[in-house]
Structures are given as structure tokens and as C-alpha cells.
Chain length 507, copies 2
């Protein structure tokens, strides 16, 4: 078979798999939004069937033959060519899928399904004892997974490859060390400041129907295309990029707290803008897929925090917000509101953490995961290790496991290696925002546009530098091309200092 | 392979196909309800992919081997045994699927997709000329389909088998002749009556949110389980029985007309009660599937018309209706309302027709379809033939093709043979209702329950006599077992006479 034919066949199969996976994405969305309660059992059968079809297609030996026929050919000789990227990433997923024994895949699916159920019941009761044996099973299976996939230096490298290909434990350790070194003193200074924003302005009556209209207006201003997407209500908000022309975000409204839904919608809108601007003609292939979890998170964090918690954003939106919620905000000033949505306060719950303390939650999870996976930390010792780190980093006592090591779902579904992508997202977001400002003629140009409700230039910069590339480059290389530098915590730390020093009268 | 093993394998494959088809059902529901506009192209790819998987599974030669290994064995010697029914119907669908050449299947899909688009544009313009060549193609392909499937007496028999297995042209001709003979004089007498119900009470302000609440209350009273289903809004209402625990109905609200949504919801609820009470343990096999299109329609018609347009139903619901819509119904009496929802008036549009004239619309379509398929009626002559029959049966002039032969979507999607199942549904509904009344201790017992909002006995009778059997018996046999007699138009004609004679002071 000539190379061009082999490549065409490989792409055809990849796209078919993409369409198949997009069917499962519709079902998954439906499950979280509109599926009747009693449909859960059938939905499990449907998802299992589609997953088994997808696994068959992904691991078809013919894929290996096609890859072998293409690799080493002229078509992929230029490593920067689009075809080379498709072949590189399809090889990665084929290898990963075929290296994992079917028995291990099934055992992981079975154990994590049960572990999630156990976790769901154990968490409200702070019952670590009942979750412990399941977490032990999960950790053991993830070690087997790492061994099957193969790794250098640390088994964790095999796991993070699933979320952030090309990133290593060594790099992450360095990033987190630098971050923690700078964050801890900043947070301490803020804690000691006498300036205390009045967060209670967010805890007032915010009628849900108005929250929805307001959030949709902000999402539209950012560039979310409602002809190619939707906003619905769920208990666990997410963004699902089903495929070209169909990207759906969800939120959860709290009628007594403005922040929950609104910043959630901005966050999911950031994810959605990425999905809506991936090149549709490459749908189902790596070139049409998001680069990595970290880059995806950078898009959500950029729009949620860098933009949505910024002063220029509220210069434009606060008068409208006040019109929409006159009862809640009648006497509140823009400055007071801006301070409230940017309040820094060490807290026990990761998902409620502010921009500054958030990454300390991730740093300690990363450290604990390394220990669990290497065996240096026994699952039995996890609660103690958790509580010690919370004390050291955040100066807080953990009153129970629900607000401690049982708070996150990730470990129960086997997502060890996932947490660091949240911090990578925060760091990429700051570095990308700096580059976008620089390329747009300095910070004041973009800010000036934001003040007029114009977010188009920023979106187009992201489309051009991030979205349209799909997986053409790995995350590190994409960052270098977009910003001119490798990833560094410096832009993020500068961003925090510039925001918080005036707010809290510190530095 | 021993028979029991072959049967188990056959059932396993049938259930897997059922789960696969249920995935497509979720996607089809989503397409009609929540899918963003721009998702249409991907949805087409998704549906085509799932359909091709389903076709592969349905026509797998292994199915033929398994069927052959079972047929003639002791397992299916008793033709009334459940296993025999599964094998009988799986054989029928396997034969039908394998007899159709793949090229014909694809050509039909391609032509009917385009024909529907052409029809959609031609209808509002009454432009038969542009639809004509497409209908000619559809008719030619349906003739090829009939020839490939094989038939006795008339090619139409091969087509109706898809919707109403076991029913023949000869039987239908006799049914329609009897019906028309009795209906035409009844409708004429009603037309000449001086009593004219005031239909305008239905054309008032009926706020949509209240319509929804009221319709949900009626559906719940009938026994629709909202934990296993939903009610959503679409432009073309339908019921989708996705599978056990998941059956979804839809409606279209008209804020200025009560009848459209309300009776539509009762209709779809009738379908849904059937789906919700099929035996879940047989899901994906004939024993867990609805008997036929005609029997399905009997369930919707029974709840919509026999119950929902009945006096006892409104004895219970009218006071509640008046409370819900005081502005619209303040001065309207129960009798006036009852007369309005049962007004008989010959009209041009099938879907707006009353219970009496409705079947004349079907009778003429059946006759025309027979002519089109046999070649006795050229597509070019269809508009004239249509208009002649409307004049003869309904004494109306057809002003344009939009209200004439272009009004229905069915022919554009190739659904020749589908229309008769609507009338079969009406006839089965009347005959089943008679039997349910008889078995419940006479008409007054059920009516007394209805007057108190209790529809449970009727639903349980239907579960016991219709729903739980799935495809165990063909429609004719199911009717005999449930009612003691073969299908006859007599109960339907009696029902109409009993309803309309007092209402219009005729007979």
C-alpha cells in the first residue's frame, strides 16, 4: 500500500472513531441533564456498548499496520508537518490502548465504577475507612497500568501522559516548588492585611432566571456561539465538545450566591470557545482535537479569571449587573464588588478556593499522588499526610475527611495524574494572556476593548495561537510558539501580585 | 451447537442490537428537542454510523445460522411459546434485511433524504411539479423493495408487512369498504344537523406554562411515569420509547388553541404507556417490542379519543381546567366544552380531522397508494385523483396542493403502507375499549372510575391484554385474545354513533 493511501485510510478510521465517540458524548450529556432517573441502567448498557465498539476500532491491528506503513516515510519526515502530528498522536493512543491488557481495562472499569459509588456514600459521612480498601485497589491497578504502558524514572510519568503528553514529574516538581515558594508568602501577607473585602454582597437574592440571562449575555460577549451550542443545568457543571457545531456547557444555579453559576459559566465558556474553534475539517483526528488537559484548562481559567475577575470586565458588566439585580446590589459599588469576587482566603475546599490559594491545593495533591504511586505513602496514611500538608501550606486544621482527603472525586475514578493539569492551566493562562496583551499593543489595548464589552481581539488571538492548531504541537511547544518562552510560573505570580497588592495594600 | 445455546446466542445478539438502536433513539430525540442548529451535519454522520453498525449486526450471516439451528427444534415446536415468537419475528426481520440489496437500501436512504427536503420546500408553495420526479423515484424504489422482499397478490403486501405484519391488502380493502359505507352517511347527517358546537372556546388565550402543567397532570393520571420519562417541546410531536426506564414524549404548544397540545399529549401518553409497560426483561427482543404500528396507534387513540374526548374524563377534568384557565373558560359550560372538543366537520387536513372524518382521509390514501404501487395510477395523475376523492368522500374542493396531496410527509420518506395503520389503530382502540368495559363489569364501571380521575383499571387491563405480550402474538391474534373477536369496524361505528347521535340530535 502506498503511503498516501495508508494515511487516508488511517484518517478515515480515526474520523469514524471520532463520530462514534461523539455519539457517546451526546449520551453522556443527556445523562447529566435530561435523562429520566430510571433510565440509568439502560444508559450504563449503552455507554458500555459504545465503549466496546470504540475500543475495538482503536485497537484494530490494522491501525498498527497503517501506522507502520506511514512511519519513516517522506510524508512524515518533516516533524512539524500536520500529517506528522496526526501520526505521532495516533501512534501514542494506539500504543497506549494496545499495551493495556483487556483484563486490566475491564478491571479498572469495574473497580472505579464501584469505588465512585463507595466514595459518594463515604464522603458525606467522612468515612475514610470504607473508602480505603477501594482506593488501595485503584492505586494498585494504576500501578499496573503504568507498568503496562511503560515509563522512565517514575510510574507517574505513564499516568500524566494520558492527560498532558510530554510533561514529566521532574518538570512538574520544579514548577510546583517555584510556585509554592512564591505563593505561600503572598497568601500570608494577604491574610495579615487589614483590608477584608465584604464577600457577603455575593450571598444575596440572585433570581435564577436572571442569573441565566446574565450569564448567557457574558458567554455571548466572549464569543460562545449559541447556534452551535447550549447552556443547561446540571449538578456537576461541565463542557462537552460533542463535535463541530455542537458544544454544550452546563451550570448549577444557587439563588443565594452569585459566584457559583456565573464564574462557572465563564469557565465552561472558556472550554467551549476552544472546542468551537478547533478546525472542523480535522474532527476526529488529533489535528482537530484539543492539545492537552492543561491547555484546555488554560482556556477556561483565562476567561474565568484573567478576564472575568478583571477590573475592565466589571467596568463594562457591573452597571448591567446592577440593573439586573437591583435588590441585591443597589448600594454596592463597583470597587466593593470587584474586591468581593477577588477575595483571597485560605480554605479547605479546592473547588471553592480563590486564584492564589488554589494551586497550593493542587501542589499537595500532586505530592501525595507521587507518594501513593511510588509506594512511599500507604493509603492508610493518606488522611494524616493530607492534614499535615493543609496545616503546612494553608495554616488550617482539617475538621473531617469530607473537607479533607475525601473531598475530590478524582481518585475514585482512577484519575491519578489529572490534578496537575489544573495548575498547568492556571500557569498557561497567565502566560498566554501576557503574550496576547503584548501582541495586541500592550495591556491597555485589550483592557480598553474589555471595558467596552469587546472580547473579540482576545478570542481571535487564542484561535490563531491555540485553537486552530489542535494537537499539531505538544503543550510545551505550543506555549513556546504562542508566547515565545517555555512555560514558567513567573507570569502567573506577577499577575497575582499586580492584582492583589493594590487590593490588599500589601507588597 | 445445541438449540438452547443457539437460542441464548441469538437473544444476546438481539439485545445488543436493541441497545445499539436505543443509542440512536437518544440521538434522534435530542435532534428534535435540544440539538443546536449547527449540530445537524454531525448528527447526520452519527446516525448514519449507528445505522451501518445496526445493519451489520442485523444481517450478520451468523444470525441466519442461529435461526436455522433453532427452527424445527423442540424449543419452538409450540407455536404459542414465547421462544417461538422471538424466533418467528427475528426470522422475519433477518429475511427482510438480508433480502434487500445493500445498493437498494443506500439508494432508498439517499433518495428519501433528498425527497423530504424537496417536499419540505414544495409544500408551502403547493409546487407539485418539483416534488413529482422525486415521488416517482420513491415509488419506483418501493416497487423494487417489494419485489426484493417478495409478496403474494399485490406488492403493497410486502410494504405493509414492515408496519403491520400479517395484514393483507385484501383484509384492508374489506375494512375500508365497510368503514366508508357507514361513515359517509353519518358524517352527512352530522353536517346537516342544526346543532353546531362553538369551537371558538378552544381558540382563546391558554398560557403555555399552564397548558404544560395541566397536560402533565392528565398524563400522570393516565399512569405515565415521569421517573421513567419526560415531556418536552418539539415542532413535530412524537413518542420515543428509548428503552426500559426511558420513554420520552413531546408536544407543540399553541398559546391560542387548547386542543393542539392537550390532545397531542394524551395521544403520545397512550403510546408511552405501551412502551413503559413492555416487559423490560425482554428489551431488545421481539417479546419486549411493540406488536405493530396499528396496535401502537390503538393505544394512543384509545387514550386520546376513547378516554380523553369522553364525557366521564371531562366530568373529572373540566372543573380543574376551568380553574386553570379562568379567563378563557369563565362562562363556558362543561357541555359546551365537551361538544367543542367533539365537533365533526369535514376538513382538508388529515392531522386536524375529527374522529369521524379522519378515517376517510386514510381510506383515500390507501386507495391511492395501491394505485401508485401497482402502476394503475401515475404519479403525474396523483393531484387530480386526490382532489376527486376529497370531493367524493368529504364534499370539499381542494384549493391547493399544500392542502391536498402535498400535505403529508409520509410519501417523501418512503412510508408507503404506513397510513392504514392509523385507521387500524382507531378500530383496534374501539374494540379494545369495548372489551375492557365488558371485562370491568360494564361501561358504567370504568366511566365511574374516570369520573373520579381513576384510570388505573383501564391501564392495568391494557397492560395485561396488550402491553405485556410484546410481539408474542401478531396483531390480529392479539386482538382475538384480548377481545374475543377478530378485528371489525363495528365497535368503532357503534362508538361514533353513540357519541355523535345525541350530540348532534341525529340517527
Amino acid at each position: 500500500m502506498i503511503t498516501a493511501e495508508a494515511y487516508a485510510e488511517l484518517i478515515h478510521r480515526s474520523k469514524e472513531l471520532g463520530v462514534l465517540n461523539s455519539c457517546a458524548a451526546v449520551l453522556a450529556w443527556d445523562q447529566q441533564t435530561y435523562m429520566p432517573t430510571n433510565g440509568a441502567s439502560l444508559r450504563g448498557d449503552q455507554m458500555a456498548l459504545l465503549a466496546s465498539f470504540a475500543h475495538q476500532k482503536l485497537t484494530d491491528p490494522k491501525i498498527g499496520d497503517l501506522l507502520a506503513a506511514i512511519e519513516g516515510s517522506d510524508l512524515v519526515a518533516d516533524l512539524d508537518a500536520p500529517e506528522a502530528a496526526n501520526v505521532r498522536e495516533l501512534r501514542r493512543s494506539f500504543n497506549r490502548a494496545t499495551k493495556l491488557p483487556q483484563t486490566l481495562v475491564e478491571e479498572l472499569a469495574r473497580v472505579t465504577t464501584q469505588a465512585q459509588q463507595v466514595w459518594q456514600e463515604a464522603k458525606p459521612k467522612s468515612d475514610f475507612a470504607s473508602f480505603r480498601p477501594w482506593l488501595e485497589k485503584v492505586v494498585a491497578l494504576k500501578r499496573q497500568e503504568a507498568a503496562a504502558v511503560g515509563f522512565q524514572d517514575h510510574p507517574y510519568n505513564a499516568l500524566i501522559e494520558e492527560y498532558e503528553p510530554g510533561t514529566t514529574v521532574a518538570e512538574l516538581k520544579e514548577l510546583f516548588a517555584g510556585l509554592t515558594r512564591d505563593l505561600v508568602p503572598l497568601i500570608r501577607k494577604i491574610a495579615n492585611s487589614l483590608k477584608k473585602p465584604d464577600r457577603s454582597v455575593l450571598d444575596r437574592d440572585y433570581p435564577v432566571d436572571r442569573q441565566k440571562v446574565f450569564a448567557e449575555a457574558a458567554a455571548t460577549a466572549f464569543g460562545f456561539n449559541f447556534a452551535s451550542g447550549r447552556l443547561d443545568t446540571t449538578s456537576h457543571p461541565f463542557c462537552s465538545g460533542i463535535g463541530p457545531g455542537d458544544c454544550r456547557i452546563t451550570t448549577r444555579y444557587n439563588p443565594r450566591f452569585f459566584g457559583e453559576s456565573f464564574f462557572g459559566v465563564l469557565h465552561e465558556t472558556g472550554h467551549a470557545l476552544y472546542e468551537q474553534n478547533l478546525p472542523a475539517e480535522h474532527f476526529g483526528t488529533p489535528l482537530g482535537s484539543a492539545c492537552s488537559f492543561g491547555i484546555h484548562e488554560s482556556q477556561s481559567r483565562l476567561w474565568e479569571n484573567q478576564v472575568g475577575r478583571g477590573r475592565p470586565f466589571w467596568d463594562h458588566f457591573f452597571p448591567r449587573l446592577k440593573q439586573t439585580f437591583p435588590a441585591a446590589l443597589g448600594e454596592v459599588s463597583r470597587d466593593a464588588f470587584y474586591a468581593a469576587v477577588n477575595d483571597v482566603r485560605p480554605s479547605l475546599i479546592r473547588v471553592e478556593a480563590d486564584e492564589a490559594t488554589y494551586n497550593l491545593h493542587i501542589a499537595m495533591r500532586f505530592e501525595l499522588e507521587l507518594g501513593l504511586l511510588s509506594g512511599d505513602l500507604a493509603v492508610a496514611d493518606l488522611p494524616g499526610a493530607w492534614n499535615d500538608r493543609v496545616k503546612a501550606l494553608l495554616e488550617l486544621d482539617v475538621p473531617d475527611h469530607a473537607r479533607g482527603c475525601l473531598q475530590d472525586i478524582h481518585w475514585s475514578f482512577g484519575g491519578i495524574g489529572y490534578f496537575p493539569t489544573y495548575t498547568l492551566g492556571n500557569l498557561y493562562a497567565a502566560q498566554l494572556m501576557d503574550a496576547a496583551r503584548r501582541d495586541s499593543g500592550g495591556g491597555s489595548t485589550l483592557d480598553g476593548a474589555f471595558r467596552h464589552g469587546d472580547f473579540q481581539s482576545l478570542r481571535l488571538w487564542l484561535v490563531s495561537h491555540i485553537h486552530r492548531h489542535g494537537q499539531r504541537y505538544r503543550a510545551g511547544e505550543l506555549c513556546r510558539r504562542a508566547t515565545g518562552s517555555p512555560l514558567s510560573p513567573a507570569p502567573f505570580i506577577s499577575y497575582l501580585n499586580e492584582k492583589y497588592c493594590p487590593l490588599y495594600g500589601v507588597c
